[in-house]
Every structure is written in structure tokens, then in C-alpha cells.
Symmetry: C2
Subunit: 337 residues, 2 copies
């Protein structure tokens, strides 16, 4: 049997937005598992803003992807062959499988999931790292109190859409910032946000003056840049800013734009705190239980944006994120589920 | 009796560094207290970086000084006349008396001090707002633990020199950043800092790599700008940044330089929190007791830089702060004590 395993490998470290020449599309024979290994057929890949950081040489909270390596990606797959006692052929699993059709694994970090509990892409979004990030970032760092005003940027994205809904569940008034009328409508009409600001057509500062007249108590920031600076001018006393990401800056070719208005932290006695979801790994079960319960109860809606085209479509799919073209969790389908 | 009361009044709102034309030096007759009032002869004035902010029209944590108003300043004085039951002629008092030789007061915010307990200028520095700021900013926001590394900017200034020493008293390793070899020598030789970085001649990033190889746990920031950006690159996991001030930016005529490296907060799971000392007003007695005890025990040394020339010297004395010409608390003597 001579199946091939298509892969995307990092060819060069990008400057600015990744270009086609930064990637190599290669095909290898599908490997056979040895004793203690399993072979995963990848079904869906999680497409994440953090991927851009992994392409840089600089060590961050995680080691960079090396030139020539298969691009790192979390995914959902099905066990295609197993010589590992913990996994049987046909099991659905989640793990960091990389941008490829088949992944050979020794089982580290691979978790069996129940495909009947939720659609497979949901395990990469609301019930995956995006959901965990929203849950712990909002609740542990943002510490929202009932009645407080919570603002979320990239609110129609994988993390933002969860963070906003979790804040609603906790009794907050929630304002989402997103790019485009469709996204804003979805936030209010489908996800129950109290209001949405379309940053393509509305000024954030002036909109917040009207929508959050008593100031912003919690700002869950996924974008950085001008948005962060605008929200900084509208902080309530004692506000908490969750620094979850800064997608507006990830392709910057010049120095990151620091928040000019950071001295609002002083006048507002506010804090700005960074979070990395992996620190909460031992508490994922707690979050998963809460998110699953809310999802079953219908108080939490999950949005997935499923791109097609398999492994060769990865480079273009990644760019959709930076262009704000996704609504909800962006996943790339690699094979038929 | 026709004594005059020299005053400095705000003539214009400055752009950038305050100029002589932004001030009016005027002389008025010394007022007579009415029933319930006291007249304070001002002896020393506290010269503070925050004064620059009070000159701006924008409302901050405190209302601006209006054009034509006597410039706001905290001071030490002696009661020259009193028709107030709480104050007797000859009492030494501290309060917000303004840049003038005599202040008429109804006693609000005026506190009697004991001139035998400490030199009068010390009440404006180590035992005044500067000391309170250092105490609560470091301990409540910085939360230093024994053995941790604490970095203080403007470390030879009124607040920085206190914050560094309080961190030493709490068992930390303390590195000061100051401008000039003399200041750095004072920090290490007289105040017991473990090390000092002279930002006139040494790179902060490279110096910290050597002096804080395990990263910075607490950064007490008084200056902002490039210094903040440099320290952000050297944070330890879970670091706390105390945003106390940003003297490098107070005369900025363009937008404040935001910290480009703020995403280190994310990778280091660190926080940056603003503080305003007035929030701790009900706990000043606790701080005063601690500071007085440490001072008596000789573990806390107080530095004052006493400028002379009286009220007319105020405009030039204020500029000394922004030029980094003071060592320790800058006070302006107004009259013989």
C-alpha cells in the first residue's frame, strides 16, 4: 500500500505576512507505526493566530518551528493504525498533529474524544484551546463581576466569541468589537452580546463613550494596536485588561505598536495582565465541563468556520485569520470525517 | 503690618517643558485669618513630577490647576496666626499650601507634625507622599517576595530611593536605574542597593541580562519610555510592573511612547498595574509607622535635595526634576525654618 502523506513544511521565516514561498508542500509515504506508536489520519486542523509567532526564530512561550519542519498545528483525527495499548483503530483523537494528512505519534498529548458529544470542529474551538483560553483568561485574569461592562476585541473570532458569551453567562454587560456588519449582527443576534462595534465603520472611542458610559471594567484583548489604545481611554476604576493576543501586530515588520495610552492604567488604577492558556492545563477538565454544560443548555453557542481544500490550502487559510475573514473558529478540513 | 505674600500662579498651559512665560510671579498682601481659619507660613515645598500633569487641561486623577490659580504644591509650614481650635501659632504642619509664602486654610488636610522626630524636608519625602507612594506601590502592587529581583527606575529620586530600600528591607535583590555615576554610587554605597545601572552610559537590556540573569520579578517604574521597554524584555515569569509614573513622557509634545514590548506581559504571564497613592490614604499611619521605625533603626536612609531661592525659584527648581538633577527628594525652601 503506497498512500502518500501530504505535508506543509516551513521553508523560510516570513517577514510580515507569510508568503507562498515561506512554505513547502511535500508528499512522503505514510509511515507505519512501530510498537508503542499510533498512526492518526488527520481530519481537521485548528488554524490559530499563534501560528504566526511559531514561525519566528525568537523563542517565546513555546519553541519556534524549525525550517524544514512540518508546521505545528493542533488537530482532530481518527486512529488509522495502532500498536499502542491506549488507542484503537477508529478512535477519534485530538492532539498536535501538524499540517499533514497522517501523523505518527507515541500518544503524548493525544486525547480520545467522543464524536457524539459535539461536532468534531467544536473540539478545536469552543471545547478546545480556544474555549480554554476564553474561559481562563476571562474568569481568572478578567475576574468579571455581575453587572460589570466587559469589552472583547476580535469578538467574532474563536476566542472572542467564547469570552463574550462566558461574560454574559456571568451576568455582565458585553460589548464586542469586530470588523464588518455581518459579524456584528451575529454577535448581537446569535450570541447575545449587548452591543457590537464595527471597527470598519465606527470609532471605538466614541462608540464606547456611548455604549459604556461608566467605563470598561474588563477588556479581553485579542488584537492590540489601535483598538487597545482606544479602549485604554475608557477604563473604569480598577479595570482589568486581559492580554490574550495581538493579532493586529503579528505580521508587523516594524516594532510592535505599544499602547500610547498605557498611563490610563495609572489614572484608572487598572491592570494589564498576560495569559498563556497552557498554564491552566491541569484545570482543563473543569473548563470542559462548564463549557459542555452551557453548550448543552443552549446558553453557549459555538461557531466554526470550516475551510476546505486539505493540506495544500493551509497557507491561504492561515491568511484568512489575519484578514479577519473568519467567523468563529477557523478550522481546515483535511479529510472526510 | 503689610507683609506681602509672593505667589506663583499658572499663566499658561505649557506645551512640552514648562517655560518662564507659563508662570506669573505675583505679590499679594498676606491675608488675615477669619474665625475657623489659620494662616500658615510656608517653609518648604515638595517639588513633584506630578506637578507637570496638574498643569494640563485634561482631567486626570486630580483636577487641573486653572489658569490664574496659585500653583498646587504640598508643603511644610508653621502656623503664623490661628483662629482655628485645632491649631496653635508655632505648630508645624503639612498640607497642600501651594507655591506661595503664606497660605490661608480652614484646616482641611492640614496635619500637625513633630519637628523633633525628623528634619522638616523629610516629612515631604520619605515620611510624606513620596514615601507613601513607594511603600504602597511596592508592597501592595509589586508584592515582592524575599529573594526576588526588584528593579527600580529613577532610583535616586524621591520615590525610587525609598522603593529600593523598602525592597531591600523585604529581603529582595535590588537593582536601581539612575542617570549618572554619582547617583549610582549613592545607591550602592549609601542606600544598600545590590547594583545600579547608569542609563547615561550603560545599556539597560544588556546590563540586566548580567545583573538579573533569572529575570526581573518586580519592576517599579517611575519613568516609562525606553526604560520600561528595556525592562519588559527581561521579565521573570509572573512579574509585576508597578506603573507609578512616567517622568520621561510628561513633557512629551507628541503622543506618549507606548511600551512596544508590552507583549512580554503575555509570554511572561506578567502584569502591569497603575497606582495612585491617595487610594491608600486611610493606611498612611501604617506606612508612616513602618518608615519611621526603619529610619530610626538606620535601615532606611532618607535623601533630600533642598533648593533655595524661595517662591521665585520655583519654575527653575521644577525643571531640575525633568533634567534629573536632583538626588533624593527635591524640596524648595521658602523660608527659614
Amino acid at each position: 500500500m503506497s498512500r502518500t502523506n501530504q505535508q506543509i513544511r516551513l521553508a523560510a521565516r516570513p517577514t510580515g505576512e507569510p508568503r507562498p514561498t515561506d512554505w513547502d508542500l511535500v508528499a512522503e509515504p505514510v509511515p507505519e507505526p512501530e510498537e508503542g506508536e499510533l498512526l492518526v489520519e488527520v481530519l481537521y486542523l485548528s488554524i490559530d493566530p499563534a501560528m504566526r509567532g511559531w514561525m519566528n526564530a525568537a523563542k517565546s512561550y513555546i519553541t519556534p518551528v524549525e525550517i524544514g519542519e512540518v508546521m505545528r498545528a493542533a488537530g482532530i483525527g481518527r486512529v488509522a493504525a495502532s500498536r499502542h495499548p491506549g488507542f484503537a483503530v477508529g478512535d477519534h483523537v485530538t492532539g498536535v498533529f501538524g499540517v499533514q494528512e497522517y501523523c505518527l505519534s507515541r500518544g503524548h498529548g493525544v486525547t480520545i474524544i467522543d464524536p457524539d458529544l459535539a461536532p468534531l470542529p467544536t473540539y478545536l474551538g469552543a471545547l478546545g484551546i480556544s474555549g480554554m483560553t476564553a474561559y481562563f483568561g476571562l474568569l481568572e485574569i478578567g475576574k468579571p463581576q455581575p453587572g460589570q461592562t466587559v469589552v472583547v476585541s476580535a469578538a467574532a473570532g474563536a476566542v472572542g466569541s467564547m469570552a463574550g458569551q462566558i461574560a454574559k453567562i456571568h451576568g455582565c454587560r458585553v460589548i464586542g468589537i469586530a470588523g464588518g456588519a455581518d459579524k456584528c449582527r451575529t454577535l448581537v443576534d446569535q450570541l447575545g452580546f449587548d452591543a457590537a462595534i464595527d471597527h470598519h465603520t465606527q470609532g471605538i472611542r466614541t462608540s464606547l463613550r456611548e455604549l459604556a458610559p461608566h467605563g470598561v471594567d474588563v477588556y479581553f484583548d485579542n488584537v492590540g494596536g489601535e483598538t487597545l489604545d482606544a479602549v485604554l481611554t475608557r477604563l473604569a476604576l480598577g479595570a482589568r485588561i486581559v492580554v490574550c493576543g495581538a493579532i493586529s501586530q503579528y505580521n508587523a515588520t516594524q516594532a510592535v505598536k505599544g499602547p500610547s495610552n498605557y498611563l490610563s492604567l495609572l489614572t484608572s488604577r487598572a491592570s494589564m495582565t498576560g495569559m498563556v492558556v497552557f498554564d491552566y492545563a491541569d484545570r482543563y477538565p473543569e473548563a470542559l465541563e462548564a463549557l459542555t454544560t452551557w453548550r448543552s443548555a443552549g446558553t453557549l453557542r459555538t461557531l466554526e468556520d470550516v475551510a476546505t481544500g486539505g493540506v495544500p490550502a493551509f497557507p491561504d487559510t492561515l491568511l484568512k485569520l489575519f484578514r479577519g475573514e473568519n467567523l468563529g473558529k477557523l478550522v481546515l478540513q483535511i479529510a472526510e470525517a
